[in-house]
Amino acid sequence: MNSIYLDYASSTPLANEVVDEMVSAISNNDFGNPSSTDHEYGKHAYDLIEDCRRDVANLIHADQREIIWTSGATEANNLAILGSYEFNLKNKSGNIITSMTEHKSVIEPFKTLEKKGLRVLLLSPKKNGEIDLNKLEKTINEDTLMVSLMHINNETGVLNDIESIGEICRKKNVIFHVDAAQSIGKVSIDVKNFKVDMMSLASHKIYGPKGIGALYINGETLGRIAPILQGGGQERGIRPGTLPTHQIVGMAAAFRLAKKHMNNDLNHITKCRALFLKSIASIEDAVINTDEVSTFPGIMSLRLPDLDAESIIFGMKTIALSKGSACTSDSDEPSHVLKSMGLNQEEIRGTLRISFGRYTTMNEVSIAAEALTKIVTHLKLIKGQ
């Protein structure tokens, strides 16, 4: 493929170091079932996985016993919300709070709990996409049981103040779950400082493999939740299923690398963003849907007024980017995230998501900016502008 990849928020390529470790885990005698610790093969896989658990825990300053492997962040979100309900909340009445800007893997489980009798309170974000802390504090009342809010938004890059949200939730004695699929490994996270009870982690957004993720469950405040799958005692019974050793090895390798590269990666993508914006300066009506200060620089929600993002993307044939989140780009439904920020249908239609990563080069950024400028000029010309 000769395309320039600017869709890192959707997924990332595997880091070479990750590939090497995964290949080694598949090729060597690591195939044993980590639950079969009666023999050497099983014990070896078990030990390997526990080392990986420690590496993943390290990145968020957690204890390794607080990490539960899942198939990805979607499952982690489902497990956190539905598992908490089953374990802690099902005999209670009250409300649970989330935001309209959340990923569907949070919103849908919330809808499920609504059908089970809990009241769902959906916060609308501020115009810049951020969660309004005052509004959150006012919304939480004595009946509130759980709050689930994301760290970095997958469509807009908006970075929520998780530390302050955690403070509010702890003060009000409410379970706080964070979807950190987009932020893990990209910005510094300390679950104890952030007063988080549960946090969903992804691997493939940070140069690790797909099909593996984890849920952090705070051992001091929560300890455990109920499983949503049945049939095995793995992961302390919270998440049954044979653990995929090579996937876990890949995730841990990616997390170790993320720790090492975090500052460099952040500096790099900040430069990529700045160069891109400078290079498209001739498109005078281009607008970023969020505020620079509260946005993670790796994700850019860029609006070209009165144009159709589908045509822009089609015209930028050699650049891989997206019109909404990858999860929704195959549907014609306007983005629920941008809608909740007050954008109208036309504004949503003209919005692109451009996301930079560790392997983006400055040359690629320049080529992409030039391609965008060219297609916007073409579309405006045929439109008669």
Partner: protein
Amino acid sequence: MESLLRQYFSDNKCAYITANHADISFHIGVATQANGNFVKLYLKLEEDRIVDAKYNVSGCPFMIAITAFYVEKIKNKTLLEAAEIQDFNIEETLKLPINKKDRLFLLEDALKNCIKQINRGK
């Protein structure tokens, strides 16, 4: 080989540009959709024959390509011939997916509105 869809999407030789074409007397027909798609046809006639045709368009790649294709093909046709949109095999030629077929109705509406304008002037 570049697909015909892409070729017509990228084409602008029949686009109406005010700075270049303002002094030509065109009959105009517009059609819009709630989602922001629009087609504006500019037809210059001699008798009932289209001697020049231009367009402005906004929408998805299919909307753009079918408009550019259609406007290129209707030159030197009569209005009656141009109105038989199905005769231009747009769907097959540009491989229009089934969920994009409503774009053809927009094109048809723009032409109908243009014909109305022409008839009003007669």
